[in-house]
Structures are given as C-alpha cells and as structure tokens.
C-alpha cells in the first residue's frame, strides 16, 4: 500500500513540475536572460552591424550628461499630474453613478468606451480634434466662449496639458468602474449610523467614503504611476520626434529612439536600466508609505 502511494505521489510531482514549467521557462528565456544580457549591453558600444566594443561606464556618463534625458524624465513626471485629477474625477463620477437612475448602464458603457479603444486610433482622432485652426475643440471654445484656443500639439507649453486631457478622457472610465465596485462594497450601516449622529453629506464623504476606499486609491495610484512611466504609443503619434522642443518625449520614447532609430543599443540599454531602477524605487516607496494611509479591514 505504501509503495503504491509514493508511486502515485511521484507521478503527481512529475505532473506538477510539468504544469508549472512553462511560465518558469518563459521567465528564464524572456525575463531573466534578457535582463542579464541587458546589463552586459549597457557597458558596450553596439550598433548591431559591427561587433560590440567595450565602453566601460561611458554610456552611463553620457546619458547623465544628456539634456534630453532630463527633459524626458521631467515630461514623464509632469504627465503624472493627470493621475490625481483622474482619481478625483472618476470617484465623483462613480458617486454620481451609484444611484438608480434611468439610462445609467448606457452612460457607464459610454464612459468605458475610450478605455477599450485602441490607443493609436484614439490618438489619431485627438490629433484632428486638437488641430489649431479647424479642430473641434478650438471651434467649440470660440463659438461658446469667444476664446481663441491654443495650438495644442504645436506649442511646447501646451503639448503636455493636451496629453493629460487625452489621458483623462481615456482613463477615467476604467477607474470609475473600480470605484463603483468599491462604493457598492461599503456597508450602508456606516452611512445610517452617521446620519443618526447628524452628519452631513460632506462629512459622510470625507469621513466614510474616502477612507474606506483607500485600497482602491492605492491600486489606482500604483497602476497609474507604473503606466505613466511606460507611456509610449500616444507620444509616438501625438508628439512626433518628441514634439516641439522635445516637450512631449517620455522616457520610454527616449529609449525607443536611441535603440530603434539611432541603433545605439548600449546607450539605450543604459537608459532602460535607469528607468527600471526608477520604477522599482518609486513602487517600493509607494508600498512602504501605503501602511500609513491605506485602510485595511
């Protein structure tokens, strides 16, 4: 009996390792190996045509001297202004939607539509809407408010606000759905108790709704920051070559240009590592700080 059992267990173990093998092999082949290789490349001069030649710390030194790198970092961080604005808007939307009103499900679908739309198509349509002379937005501003709209994507001062606007339009629907799920999980007894104590709407919002949703705030914030660090596609379409005076170039766009337009693989790898370490540190800080403000049951 015992030998039978261990025979079964041995076969089970073999199956188990077979079942978990693919992601592990995938990680070794497409995660770990490239990462190690990437460290090596970042210390080489390599255009992929001739053999790589050792560069020591040259790539890193050059990188830290490049004004465009700092610009792209600044742009990437600037675009994160959209995250808190988006959180506030989607929370407000979710609160408005958390009522039994007619047509609410149709509206929810419409708010969600930009989230699922291909970002390239969406960027193309905004490029047309933001056209200085014939775009829908500037025409609207002129006709309704008599305002002369800016050259949204052509003026270095307006490129980033434009990108934030598009990001808000494309993102609030997704966060709204998350907040809506969060709102529906708050027990109504909290609000009833607060009402008995005579709390007004503002008090209920700041003392019950906002604190009880902190896990969602945290999730949205962390994902938003990681997403912002990786933003590329909309930049590729809306800020060609980084936009006027590189006012729209993000860090991933910077890496892309150096790797796949100038074929400077070593230099681009050094920049990629800089970004990787940056994301790691920022995410770590967010998790460390989360203990102070994220409410857990």
């Amino acid at each position: 009996m015992k030998t039978n059992f261990s025979g079964y267990r041995r076969r089970e173990l073999a199956w188990l390792y077979l079942f978990v093998a693919p992601p592990v092999i995938g990680f070794l082949l497409f995660g770990l190996a490239p990462m190690i290789f990437s460290i090596y490349i970042s210390f080489q001069n390599w255009d992929m045509l001739s053999a790589p030649s050792g560069a020591g710390f040259d790539n890193y030194a050059e990188l830290l001297k490049d004004e465009k790198l700092y610009k792209s970092l600044f742009n990437t961080v600037y675009l994160m202004i959209g995250i808190p604005i988006g959180m506030l808007l989607s929370l407000l939307l979710a609160i408005l939607m958390n009522r039994k009103l007619k047509g609410i499900s149709v509206m929810r679908t419409i708010y969600y539509l930009p989230v699922i739309s291909p970002i390239i198509a969406v960027s193309l349509l905004w490029q047309w809407i933001l056209n200085q002379d014939y775009g829908l937005l500037n025409n609207f501003l002129w006709e309704w408010f008599g305002m002369k709209g800016p050259n949204w994507l052509g003026d270095p001062d307006w490129v980033k606000p434009s990108l934030i606007l598009i990001g808000l339009w494309g993102g609030i629907g997704g966060n709204m759905v998350l907040y809506l799920a969060g709102l529906q999980s708050i027990a109504s007894s909290y609000y009833e108790a607060a009402e008995i104590d005579g709390a007004g709407a503002w008090h209920k919002f700041t003392k019950i709704t906002v604190p009880l949703l902190t896990p969602i705030h945290f999730f949205v914030l962390v994902m938003g920051v990681i997403g912002a660090f990786q933003s590329f596609s909309q930049i590729y379409v809306l800020a060609v070559d980084g936009g006027p005076e590189y006012s729209g170039g993000t860090i991933v766009y910077y890496i892309f240009q150096h790797a796949f337009e100038y074929f400077n693989m070593g230099y681009a790898s050094a920049a990629a590592w800089l970004l990787g370490i940056l994301i790691f540190i920022v995410t770590l800080i967010q998790f460390k700080l989360s203990g102070r403000w994220v409410y857990q049951d």
């Binding site: 990462m35 539509l113 596609s233 991933v252």
Partner: protein
C-alpha cells in the same frame, strides 16, 4: 425625499454632460470619415456630413493592406490566447491546489517578474530574436506569450482557491482519475468564467498592443492593424487628408468595440473577480 429627487436630477444632468464629452470625439471621427476631403475644413464644423461619402473607406482599404493587418492581429491574438491561457490555467492549478518542493520560491520568483518593465527586456529580446532571424515575422510577438502570463496565473490561482473544493479533487483521486484527467474534467470547467474574463481582457491588451509590433514588423503586409494605422499618419497628415485618417481610425476601432459590446458581461466579471482585494 424631495431633497433626494433634486440630487438625482443634478446627478443625471452632470453625468449626461460628461457622457457628451466622452462620446463627442467618436461621433466627430465618424462624421469626418464620411466627409468629402473638400468639406472637412468648414467653419463652423458640421456634424452631419453633407454630401456624405463612403469613398474614404474604400480608398483606405485599397491603398493599405488592412485585411492583412487584421489577419496578423488575429493570428497573434488567437494563438497567444488559446495556448497562453491553457498553459496559465495548468500552472495556476498546480500552484493553488498542491504542495511541492520549491513551490513558494518559484511562485515568488514569477511574481517578481511582474516588476520588470518591458522597456528593460525589449532591447535584449530584440537582439535575441534578430539572431534567430525572427524580425519581420509574427513569432517574437507570439512565442513569449505561449509560456503563459504570470498576471493571469496569479488571477486564476486566486479564483481556484475559492471556487474549486479540495474534496472534489480528493474524490476524483480515489475514483482513480489521473492528474491531467482531473485538471481537464474538473478544474477547467470550474475555471471557465475566469478564463472568459481573462480572454476578454487579453484580447484588448494584445489587439491594442503597439510598441512590440512597431519594433518587429517592418513590411506593411506583415504589420498588425495598429502599426498600419499609425503609419497612415505619416502618409496622409502631410496632405491634411483627415477623412482618410478618420476612416482608418474607425476601421481599427470596430472590432474592439464589437467584442466589447458582446462580452461586456465578462469585463465586468473580470473586475468583480479580481476585486482589487486580490
């Protein structure tokens, strides 16, 4: 009660205004795509195109291999989703229901890979795939996806630990069912709703992916729909041919919007299952 009614009306009006802001860009795109090139620059802009024409659609379709683009995107999505999801389901089953040596080390290691940004592995992967002569083929976009996705594994594992009772597995073992047999006929049926939700999300993610396809695919006939659409910009914006570009944008959006409308339930479910509480 009256107070509540007024609040309801205000909520409705605010939401309606927001809805208009959300949908206007789509309607404007559709309207522009049906306009004649000469009528695009009318001021004030007209919402109803007059005269309206389908010319832009037929022209875009003729001048660019969009059918190939759809086919390429479709091939990537279908292979990665069917094989990738199946493989992810296999390892989520092993990770959630069994104990084995090195289990937690392997699982934590895999979770760590979620921290690696694509931009760090993008360059070495490109070099590796160009050694294999895979540049300008769909393989670099398909093969890594066939090994499963750790985010999906994590999600399915959470789902299984709640949805599949251990007793059921034990009972099947006693009945003499083999390990793969139990996975196939007990685990997979339980996983079905979670797999559908992940398929819906995965479809959107892969279909809308841009950076990877942009790096690897150079010949127009081999490009995915997103890369093709992006290249229209360089082609037509110089000539200010906005109706053509908008027609292309509409064509690129239609499949996603269709999938979304038919699978809305799964999107909502996927959010409900993942539940942020994780």
């Amino acid at each position: 009660m009256k107070h509540k009614k007024i609040a309801d009306v205000w909520s409705f009006l605010l939401l309606l205004a927001g809805t208009l802001f959300m949908i206007a860009p789509f309607l404007w795109t559709l309207s522009t795509s049906l306009k004649d090139k000469r009528n695009v620059f009318e001021i004030p802009p007209k919402w109803i195109p007059e005269p309206s024409t389908f010319r832009n659609y037929t022209d875009v379709w003729e001048q660019s291999p969009l059918l190939n683009g759809f086919a390429n995107s479709f091939i990537i999505v279908v292979t990665v989703l069917t094989i990738g999801l199946f493989v992810s389901a296999m390892s989520s089953y092993a990770f959630s229901k069994f104990e084995f040596p090195l289990k937690s080390v392997l699982f934590m290691g895999l979770l760590g890979t979620m921290m690696i940004p694509y931009s760090v592995v993008m360059i070495p992967q490109y070099i590796g795939f160009s050694w294999l002569n895979w540049v300008d083929t769909l393989l670099p976009l398909i093969v890594p996806g066939l090994f499963g996705n750790i985010v999906v594994v994590f999600f399915l594992r959470q789902y299984l630990s709640g949805a599949l009772p251990n007793d059921l597995i034990e009972a099947a073992k006693i009945d003499g069912a083999s390990f793969p047999r139990i996975f196939w006929s007990i685990c997979l049926p339980v996983l079905k709703p979670a797999l559908a939700a992940q398929a819906a999300l995965g479809f959107m993610g892969i279909w809308n992916d841009f950076l990877g396809p942009l790096i690897y695919l150079h010949t127009p006939e081999k490009q995915t729909i997103q890369v093709l659409i992006a290249s229209m910009q360089a082609l037509y914006i110089g000539q200010s041919d906005y109706p053509m570009i908008m027609a292309a944008a509409v064509i690129a959006m239609i499949p996603v919007i269709l999938v979304f409308f038919f699978c809305q339930r799964y999107f909502i479910e996927s959010l409900a299952i993942s539940g942020i509480k994780g």
